[in-house]
Structures are given as C-alpha cells and as structure tokens.
Amino acid sequence: MEVDDILRDFEKSTQKDQDLYKSLTTAMLNERMAPELLPYQQSLLEDVLSKISSQQQFLLDSHEYGDINIDSGIITSDFKLQLMIIETDIERLNYLVRSYLRVRLSKIDKFSIHYIDMISTNRDSKLLSFEEQSYISRHFKLMTDLYNGSFLKKVPQDLAYLDTDSGISMIVKPEIDQLVFIKVNKGDIVLELEDDDELELIPGGIYIVKYSLVRRYVDIGDIELI
C-alpha cells in the first residue's frame, strides 16, 4: 500500500513537471510565431524559474556530496549520469526561457511606441511583465534622447516632435493579418473567412490561416501556433 502511494505521488509530480515543460514550450512557440506580443505568462514563468533554481541548488548540493564522498566508493557512474541528465534538463529549460524572453524583447523593441500607447491607455494590462514595462519605457527614453541629441534639437520647432500626424503614421504596428501555421487542440471552431466562406477546424489538424482570425483561440489555448 505504501509503495503504491509513493508511486502515485511520483507519477503525479512528474505529470506536473511534464505539463510545465509542455506549456513552456507552447508559450515559447506561440510567442515566436505570433506577429504581435502575447500576454506575459507570469505564473508559468515564475514556476519555471523557481524550478530551475531549485534544480540548480540540488545540483550544487550533489556536487558537494560527490566531492566529499569521492574516495569512499559510494559515487557510482549512475550518480554522475543522473547529474548529467539534470544539467541537460536545466540547459533545455534555460534555452526555452531565453528564447521566450528574447523574442518578446525583440517585438517590444520593434513596436515600442505602439505598445507604450497601449500600456498608457490600459494601465493594468497583463500584456507586459513588470520588468518589460520598465525596459520598454527606459529604452524608449534612450531612443528619444538619441534622436534629440543627434538632430531633432537642430530642426525647426514644429518638426521636432516624434508624434506628428502629418501624412503617414510613423508608428510601426504588428502585422496581424500575417499568415501563421496552427495546430488545433479542440474541436468546434468555425472560422468565418471572407466572401461568406467558412472553415471548420478539425482537432489535431494543421492549417495555415491569417493570424487575426485565430488570435482569440490562441489566447485560450484551443489553438497553438507552430
């Protein structure tokens, strides 16, 4: 009975870890493929980061343990292998988080004014993390200083603003009609195409569609981008 309990516990915990891993991968891929910034996965990232630091602590402890007992013959190659596996796992998580954060930053840089406007109209939006908000405003300040220092201070007053409404808008916005590859997780999604056409998505199917048509399903996880 006891053994069963332990086994069940073990299964549960690995199941949870796998879910974590899977949702991190999905979050990373969605973010990479979507033309616009997706809401920041605050809780997921927190979980992953605490996971990584606890694994790293375990690794440190084990190394210490290994160093102390190196002569006594307790250390087998199995033990070393186990450490290697954990290390590889950390590297993988590390890579996923890195890609996720970097791709977000690159979008933030590309569409900075667009997102700054968005934050200022909607203060409590979950779109950007706290760190990203401070990054975007500081980077924007740096850019403005650069423009001003380089030439804007030398042009006539009425030209010296960044937000002129003369002619074409200078704010770069994400291209939400971009085509994306999607994989359908749940059924019963019918997309309404132009010319009164409809497209029924079959679960497990892979399609290529305009991002704007599926963005709300990506939000709730019924569709993932690939």
Binding site: N94, R98, L101, L142, L146, S150, V155, P156, M170
Partner: protein
C-alpha cells in the same frame, strides 16, 4: 535637388544593415540635411510673408496665391521627408548597437587592432549580424546611447539571474562540446578545472562555461 542628401543617407544605412559592424557616422551628410531643412524653413517664412503681403494689397490674384501655396506644400513635404530619413537612419544604427550589446563583447577602440570575429560555421545568424563595433564610428549621442543601453540590459538581465539571457539562441544539444582555441588568451577557470587558451589546442568542455568565449572569438565550436 531637395532630398538628395537624404537619399544618400538611406543608401548608406542600407549598406550598413548588411555589414557585420556599425559604419562610420555620416556627420557631413547629416549636417547637409539639417541645413536643407532649416533653409526650407526660412523659405516657408518668406513665402508666408509674401502671402500676407498679397492679402493686404487686397487684390485677389488667384494664380499668384496658388503658386505660393504650391511652393509651400513642396517645401513642407521635403522637410518632413528629410526628417523621416534622419529618424530611419538613426533607428537602424541604434538597432545595430542593440544587437551588439547583446553579444557581451568589448568594443574595439582603434581601427588598427580591430579583430574580426568569425562566427562559428553552424551558426544560423547569417552574415549581416552585428559582431563588431568600433566606438570611433559612433557619434557622441550614440556612444552615450550605447553605454546606457548596456546598463539597461544589465538591469533587465539581473531580474533573471538563473537564465543566461545573452546565450546562444540555438537549441542546446550537448552540455559538453569540443572547442578549438582560435587565439591566445589567459587561463580559464571552470567548475571542472582550469585550462589554458593556447592557439590551436582543443578541449572538451561544458558549453555554458565557454559560451562567452565563443562569442568573443577565442574559441570555435567543432
């Protein structure tokens, strides 16, 4: 012709985009463009006075007024276009400076000792990735920008201390890799011991330990 210098500037920034470094700041060209903008501004003022003079004379000379309006329109458009070109030029350069900041490599200061960093062959970064930066090529505001952006990155990265944010963007395959030393350097300390950077020697090391050295061009992944 109006806008010609701006065209040259755009050509230059297109060229810079494909270079692995940030090219020399076009001080003269930018000066020319600024002068053009300010000249046009004076023209505008003059034309404005003309219009007022015509108005005060009271004679409704439709043709004359149209001519002036047209001149004003053209001048205004050129000014706006010049400004956009300047912004685009600076933005493109700033982007390249940003890219470089992420690499964690020290900028070169004088042109003679410039070292070219060869990217490892299996890197998919492409040829137009900024891999070297000479501070001499930057204007003063740009140097300031470079310094501050680095500070900003350090601050941002410190929030994620467990993650090496400026690491390789290729998925990891092995934690240990074979590397060859490309140029002499000092002693390197890792968790698994010490090794010396002697040109053409080879080591089997942990990837995360030497990532920085690969980016700096000391090592090459085999």
């Amino acid at each position: 012709m109006f806008g010609e210098s701006a065209n040259k500037l755009i050509l230059d920034s297109r060229r810079t985009n494909n270079l692995p470094e940030v090219s020399l700041y076009q001080t003269e060209l930018i000066g020319d463009i600024l002068r053009e903008i300010n000249d046009l501004d004076k023209d505008m003022e003059y034309l404005q006075q003309e219009t007022e003079a015509l108005m005060s004379q009271g004679e409704d000379n439709e043709a004359n007024r149209k001519i002036i309006e047209c001149q004003q329109f053209a001048a205004r458009l050129t000014m706006i276009r010049n400004k956009r070109c300047l912004l685009a030029y600076e933005r493109a350069r700033a982007n390249k400076i940003d890219e470089f900041c992420w690499l964690n490599v020290d900028p070169t200061n004088d042109l003679t000792s410039k070292t070219s960093i060869s990217l490892s062959k299996n890197s998919s970064l492409g040829t137009n990735f900024t891999t070297s930066l000479s501070l001499d090529n930057l204007s003063h505001p740009e140097q300031e920008y470079y310094r501050q952006y680095q500070e900003l990155l350090v601050d941002y990265k410190s929030k994620f201390s467990d993650i090496d944010l400026s690491g390789d963007l290729e998925p990891p395959t092995n934690i240990f890799i074979d590397v060859r030393v490309l140029k002499d350097g000092g002693e390197v300390q890792t968790e698994y011991g010490v090794f010396n950077l002697i040109k053409d020697s080879q080591f089997y090391v942990r990837k995360s330990d030497v990532e920085r050295l690969i980016q700096q061009g000391y090592l090459e992944e085999l």
